[in-house]
């Protein structure tokens, strides 16, 4: 069984934000909610790097661990999904997630956030595949159609990869070998200035 993963190659990402736009368009994501964002490191400094970030579909997902109503489930191939009918919009998953993936459509008085929304790896939710209900709540279910997440499929520089983690890792490994080393954008040496 494949284990679905995203990987963003910072050496290739050109901060075009096409992945963000494609995601919003494909799933009709409500105003104010971004399932995917492009983060720029050292913005404006020569050598700046960008990475596209969304839900990383963690193997041991902290969002699922803290959810008080147990609305998260993980598919056999590692995609973390949730049931919006159960979600109470408490925001625990937002605080638990290290990537800021959970988003809330409402900002009103008394902390009313609405149901949590996040990247589904284009795999929808628990409703019937590609039904109107599923589309309204979670967006399109491309995985059920035998397709991969649109953000990665349409990435012009192939910086963003999505699919079986083993295949994604193979592609990235070949790139690193060709470049003669991994980027120094982050890691121990960057974090601790050693």
């Amino acid at each position: 069984m494949a284990r679905m993963k995203f990987l963003c190659d910072a050496e290739r990402c050109i901060e075009c934000n096409a992945c963000v736009t494609a995601c919003k368009n494909e799933h009709e994501v409500p105003w104010g909610v971004n399932r995917r964002r492009v983060v720029v490191l050292e913005d404006g400094v020569p050598g700046e790097k960008s990475i596209s970030v969304a839900c990383m579909h963690c193997t041991d997902a902290p969002c699922a661990a803290v959810c008080p109503v147990d609305c998260f489930y993980t598919t056999d191939d590692g995609i973390v999904l949730h049931d919006k009918d159960l979600c109470i919009g408490c925001g625990y998953c937002f605080y638990a997630c290290p990537f800021g993936a959970p988003q809330y459509p409402q900002q009103s008085a008394f902390g009313v956030r609405g149901k949590m929304d996040k990247c589904t790896f284009c795999a929808g939710g628990p409703e019937a595949d590609n039904s109107d209900d599923e589309y309204a709540k979670y967006g399109r279910n491309r995985i059920a159609e035998g397709k991969l997440p649109l953000c990665a499929e349409m990435c012009s520089t192939k910086a963003l990869l999505a699919g079986d983690g083993d295949l994604v890792a193979d592609i990235y490994r070949q790139r690193v070998i060709r470049r003669g080393g991994r980027p120094k954008t982050w890691g121990w040496e960057t974090a601790y200035q050693s």
């Binding site: 147990d70 998260f72 592609i171």
Partner: protein, 63 residues
């Protein structure tokens, strides 16, 4: 002698407050309580896995 014993005892009691458990608190997810996703059954089908592999080969190759 008596005072020294009291001080030693008090210090020992106070130092116990400095103890910190080295055990990691692990939060395990609860059991999912929502509706069953039909995609789960579909993903176990070899045809679906093959379709995703073919799609990957089609749209994700390096340039």
């Amino acid at each position: 002698m008596y005072a020294r014993a009291i001080i030693t005892l008090a210090a020992a009691v106070m130092l116990t407050a400095c103890y910190e458990s080295a055990d990691v608190t692990v939060h395990k997810p609860g059991v999912y309580k929502g509706a069953k996703d039909p995609l789960l059954a579909k993903q176990r089908m070899p045809e679906q896995q093959q379709a995703l592999r073919e799609r990957f080969a089609l749209v994700q190759p390096d340039r």
